[in-house]
């Protein structure tokens, strides 16, 4: 078995849950999150990549999850049957929570348009800076600020005041 395949299998076994959690925040639906992660893994590793290690493998996949998610939004014809683009809660939305907060956050996030949702997740979940988000999404920093501003404003309408994101970039793994 090739070295790359060993890395990929290890990534799936050890980080599969974290990747699905990230995908779930983006698309708000467990079934779609599962598909999103699988599609991203296939897209990422169908090409051989030199010097692949677990950390870099996960970074590749996370980027691809984001790209596939946003492309899925643009490629409406292929994803129409999945209805994950609507603001309505999906039929397999997510787990019941013992507190209302967790479900409220996901429900509120699901109501955001895809690019606002992506910016909020990258800023508050991935702890990226505005500059890093702009580079990741290939848009201007002004656009990122706007998406963040509108997204947070919408979330605050549902969740109440939100603490500003930290100004430093942190290297974060799943807490």
């Amino acid at each position: 078995m090739s070295t790359q395949d060993d890395v990929v299998e290890s990534l799936i076994a050890t980080r599969g849950r974290a990747l699905r959690g990230y995908a779930y925040l983006l698309c708000g639906n467990l079934d779609d999150a599962e598909d999103l992660v699988q599609d991203a893994l296939v897209k990422t590793f169908s090409r051989r990549r030199a010097g692949l290690e677990l950390d870099s493998a996960e970074a590749y996949v996370r980027r691809t999850i984001l790209t596939v998610y946003l492309d899925g939004w643009r490629r409406r014809g292929r994803w129409a049957a999945r209805l994950h683009l609507t603001a309505e809660p999906s039929q397999t939305a997510g787990p019941e929570s013992s507190t209302g907060d967790r479900v409220d956050v996901v429900a509120a996030l699901r109501r955001l348009p895809p690019q606002q949702r992506a910016c909020v997740v990258l800023r508050f979940y991935e702890d990226l800076t505005v500059t890093e988000i702009a580079r990741r999404l290939a848009v201007s920093e002004g656009a990122v600020k706007r998406y963040l501003s509108m997204g947070v404003h919408s979330l605050e309408g549902v969740l109440g005041p939100i603490r500003p994101a930290p100004t430093q970039t942190l290297l974060v793994r799943e807490r």
């Binding site: 699905r20 014809g77 501003s149 939100i162």
Partner: protein
């Protein structure tokens, strides 16, 4: 207490993942290896050539030179566990795909469909009236060889708001045979000028500047006479207006105020008809989330960035005003005398000077407090409003002169008066 959104999101992600069984590596690895085989099967040229399976005509077999040496290809391309009479699994439209019709949903079988048509990129840009190049790939991702004819090549459709509004003529002549072994892919580099759908037999025009979704389709006739339609897309296309009618292209993303040139295409690099996020003049504008918060409508507007306000009528005023949404910068208003067109026209230019500068000037449209003139370009319209001393709008003795200039994106109404009103680009009301 303010919500710690980061912690809340991490909790939510963890909770969601805990409800699902562990992701099994084996099925994912199977898909990965199958995809690698599909990408590299086209490289076994010797075997395919020997079988006479290289497609002719408009489809050309791909050699994927970027892939490292792949596992050995199947010993024979003809062995297949799938019965010959089993229906093909295809990404296919559920309705007709054609001019003037709503874009139908695509039936996309789970997993990697046997046959699918893919654009090589997710988005692209072309200047209106110029040739667009698209790389597309027809993939036979299944376990059965394809033997078909392709009478009309790959068709390309351009849609806006869910309706097909444009196309181009099919490239070249028909491809007599398409033999695509299981796991192989063929590329079809397409090139043509996007045109509008012609409904009355008149000559079609070049597709106008704007944002479109591009869809692809190819009709195949199988050896047994059955027909398949393989579809793909959308990919995003932005048709731009190209070079401004009168202004030279600007390479500075944020020119100084005195260097800004207004034209039917926009203000300096700030182009109408293009999204703020990816606009060449993106650095010239920024989002003010609090503007218009007290107006009763939705708060937030795009405003000039890095340009000092000017004092006009005793008040600090923005150098320009802009109206934009996610899709495009739709309008730019200039009331400043600093900004000029390439011909030197600006606020204060007399009507005689204006007409001399632009022999093709259209108008005037008589408004309640101004006269409206305009110049139409490929991607937008430059509007100039003039006022004289009549009605006390200007000091007595003032010759009729330009009092404001506007640029509107193509496809938006432009020839209407706004002078001395509250109608300003990006206004709160």
């Amino acid at each position: 207490m303010d919500l710690d959104l980061g912690t809340a999101l991490h909790d939510a992600a963890r909770a969601s993942a805990s409800t699902l069984p562990d992701l099994e590596p084996a099925p994912v690895m199977r898909r990965i290896r199958r995809r690698r085989a599909a990408r590299t099967a086209g490289g076994s040229v010797v075997g395919l050539a020997a079988a006479g399976a290289v497609a002719v005509g408009t489809l050309q077999l791909v050699e994927d030179r970027t892939v490292q040496p792949a596992p050995a290809p199947p010993a024979t391309s003809l062995a297949t566990p799938v019965p010959d009479d089993a229906p093909w699994r295809v990404v296919t439209p559920t309705g007709d795909l054609g001019c003037g019709l709503p874009v139908p949903a695509f039936e996309d079988p789970p997993g990697d469909a046997d046959l699918h048509l893919e654009p090589a990129a997710d988005h692209t840009t072309v200047v209106a009236g110029e040739r667009l190049t698209l790389d597309t790939v027809l993939v036979n991702g299944g376990e059965r060889d394809l033997d078909a004819t392709n009478p009309s090549g790959v068709r390309v459709w351009f849609a806006q708001d869910g309706t097909v509004v444009g196309t181009w003529a099919p490239p070249g002549g028909p491809a007599p045979d398409v033999r695509l072994p299981a796991g192989a892919r063929v590329s079809q580099p397409l090139a043509g000028v996007p045109i509008t759908c012609s409904t009355d037999g008149a000559a079609a025009a070049a597709l106008a500047p704007g944002a479109y979704d591009v869809y692809l389709s190819v009709a195949l006739t199988l050896a047994d006479g059955d027909a398949l339609e393989v579809a793909g897309g959308p990919l995003g296309l932005v048709v731009t207006g190209g070079a401004p009618a009168t202004a030279p292209p600007s390479t500075d993303p944020h020119p100084a105020a005195e260097d800004l040139v207004l034209s039917p295409a926009g203000l300096g690099p700030l182009a109408v008809g293009r999204p703020p996020a990816t606009n060449p003049g993106a650095a010239m504008i920024e989002w003010d989330p609090d503007l218009c918060a007290d107006s009763g409508g939705s708060p937030g507007r795009w405003v000039p960035a890095g340009y000092a306000p000017e004092v006009r009528d005793g008040e600090p005023r923005p150098l320009f005003h802009v109206a934009a949404d996610d899709r495009q910068v739709s309008r730019i208003d200039v009331l400043s005398a600093t900004v000029r067109t390439a011909e030197g026209v600006g606020v204060g230019t007399t009507v005689d000077e204006l007409r001399a500068a632009y022999p093709a000037l259209e108008g005037p449209l008589e408004g309640p407090q101004s006269r409206v003139w305009w110049l139409t370009g490929p991607s937008g319209t430059l509007v100039l409003e003039t006022q004289g001393a009549e009605g006390g709008l200007q000091p007595e003795g003032t010759p009729e002169s330009v009092v404001l200039m506007r640029v509107h994106a193509a496809g938006t109404e432009a020839a209407y008066p706004t002078a001395s009103s509250d109608d300003v680009a990006g206004g709160c009301l």
